[in-house]
């Protein structure tokens, strides 16, 4: 088993760190470019308080997008993340309102468990019943969101009902950087390393790029698919806990755009929607680019109604860019393969070939 996966790993040519992170470097470059463009028009953008706000608003989407990235890399999709965040946020906020002296560890335990259970529901439908992920999570999106709406019954839990130390999570700074940002960075890096350096992580890429040959290598599709949905649910549950801390007020209709936001961040981050390629770092940078665009539109005094149109145009532009790049590299690859396999090219001694 381990030999097989090692073989699968060595199948990919080992490249230098720079070449491997080329896509991410291009993204960082694009991010810096956008920042500079916005900053030139409106120097207030580079104000430390503004930059902190931009980064903070990216953190929650970033954590969800990291989970979504692994789901999409494994050739699945999770449309239910927004509903899971809402359920986790409401359940934890309600528990806290009832137990103001409760330990924060318990809060995180509750939120992440809610996420895990809902992720397990998705995993069951997709892995055991073999329902295509896009349809299964479309169904659970309706069920989960409906469940929160019924459970909350129109109630709203506001900041005054929540203990101070809970809200403190969103206000805490470590070494001058908000705790939430540290958390997003840790989640991204840990999962990024996991995806690249562990067998389970590498298997997800194999499953995403070619499920058939992954099966021949002895990789269990059911296990990989279950794993990504459980992880996505877990991270959404975690974000639910943080959501209440950051925004104070929690009700059943929070995070309505999160499904699309996370998928958009993943797509902008260069993860192929067909699975098998891309990285969670790209998705994280994608989430930051989103936050910068939103902030930039507001700062430049452009009408807020433009935000969505700009985001849509950005998605289309990046997809176009990536597919052009992919096609070009494919053509180069085919060209070089043709050269290698056509020994009868003019100028080559005939005798050598016939031997």
């Amino acid at each position: 088993m381990s030999q097989l996966t090692e073989a699968a790993q060595s199948g990919a040519p080992s490249r230098g760190l720079l070449a491997r992170l080329l896509r991410e470097l291009v993204l960082v470059f694009a991010l810096i470019l956008i920042c500079v463009l916005v900053g030139l028009r409106e120097p207030r953008f580079f104000d430390p308080t503004n930059l902190t706000q931009v980064i903070l608003s990216a953190t929650l989407v970033c954590i969800v997008a990291v989970g979504q990235a692994l789901v999409i890399i494994a050739r699945q999709i999770d449309l239910s993340v927004g509903a899971i965040v809402a359920m986790s946020a409401f359940v934890t906020a309600e528990w806290l309102a009832g137990n103001p002296t409760g330990s924060l560890a318990v809060v995180f335990l509750i939120g992440c468990s809610v996420g895990l259970v809902m992720g397990a529901g998705n995993a069951l439908l997709v892995a055991a019943f073999r329902i295509p992920a896009i349809v299964a999570t479309l169904g659970t999106l309706a069920i989960y969101r409906g469940a929160v709406l019924v459970y909350a019954g129109g109630r709203q839990i506001s900041a005054t009902a929540l203990p101070k130390n809970y809200e403190g999570i969103a206000r805490a700074y470590i070494a001058g950087v908000p705790l939430l940002v540290w958390l997003a960075i840790i989640v991204t890096v840990v999962i990024g390393l996991f995806a690249r350096y562990t067998r389970v992580g590498r298997n997800l890429y194999a499953l995403g790029s070619n499920p058939e040959s992954a099966r021949f290598l002895g990789i269990s599709e059911a296990r990989g698919v279950s794993f990504v949905f459980l992880l996505s649910g877990f991270l959404s549950g975690l974000v639910g806990v943080l959501w209440g801390a950051r925004f104070g007020t929690v009700d059943a209709v929070i995070a309505p755009q999160l499904n699309l936001q996370s998928i958009s961040a993943v797509v902008i981050g260069g993860v192929s929607i067909f699975g098998g390629s891309g990285s969670v770092y790209g998705a994280a940078i994608g989430a930051v680019i989103f936050a910068v665009i939103q902030n930039g539109v507001l700062l430049l005094g452009i009408n807020q109604f433009w935000v969505q149109a700009v985001v849509g145009a950005a998605i289309l532009a990046t997809v176009f860019f990536y597919s052009t790049m992919a096609r070009r590299s494919e053509r180069v690859e085919m060209e070089s393969r043709r050269r290698r396999t056509e020994p009868r090219a003019p100028g080559l001694p005939q005798a050598e070939v016939s031997k």
Binding site: G146, V311, I315
Partner: protein
Amino acid sequence: MSIARKILARWEVFLLIVLIVTFVVGVEVSKYFLTTSNITIALQGIAPMALLALPMTLIIITGEIDISVGSMVGLCASAMAVGLEAGLPIEAAIPVAIVVGVVAGAFNGLLIAYAVLPSLVVTIGTLALYRGIAQILLQERGVSRLPEWYQSIGFGTVPGTPIPWSSLIFIVCFIGFAIYLHRTYWGRALYAIGNNREAARFSGIDVKRTIFGLFVASGAMSAIAAIVLTAYLASARSDTGTGLELPVITAVVLGGVSIFGGSGTMSGVLMAVLVLAFVQNSLGLGGVTPEQQQIVTGAVLVVTLILFSGSGFIERARASLRARNAASAAKNTSQ
């Protein structure tokens, strides 16, 4: 082939049984369920979604998807509203909406068919783009001074009958789409494209033009849905039709169309639309809140799909058990 036909027949028969059960439960829940006025109300409420399900069926059969329909509805409604604000009569604003829908659909089609980009991502992008343009056009305004005759498209019935005008529009469109899919060469080609795109291309089907055409049709039908929905809501706003793509895809999948393309029928989708309409209606009559209805709708989708793949699940479990037994038997004999 006969097995496939049997399963197909079973699926629509199954939906028919679900529909009958819905009616039985509906009658049980409320004495008003089987009144003509209630059925008229149920059909009026579902019309915009049903109209969008028609092109979506064709698109999903070819293995593509259009997530942007809800936003195209919002864009068409906003374009119509801007026309009305500029003093156009409604007779002139309706063609404006249709032109906008066709252009929006053509833009999707161009990117998907000719720039060969994945439809899921393109239409997620245009979902945001078209809703954004609708918001730029109309901002927070709403246009609600609509003539009486126009509003009757959403509310009214054909004089002397309980048939809503919107249902009549749907029936005409449904017949057109059903004939196209099941009785023409081009309709057969859609299945070929969904099953094996390369093979379809080699057998002389113009895959690109076909897919482009389907997305244009989706845009045009979004415009018609926008016209019906605006009449039904008696106002046009930039958020008209938000989230409409989810029930539309639910209806198509519930109707037995494979999300991977290559199979499905118009009659199945029609059944699914009716099931969804009357499940929601009977739940509403039973005092079930819209939130709870959402759970039921999601559960109907998930449960039917489990039933659909359930036999396969049991089959697989049995096969793996058999394989395990065989392996242990082989081990025993070798010892």
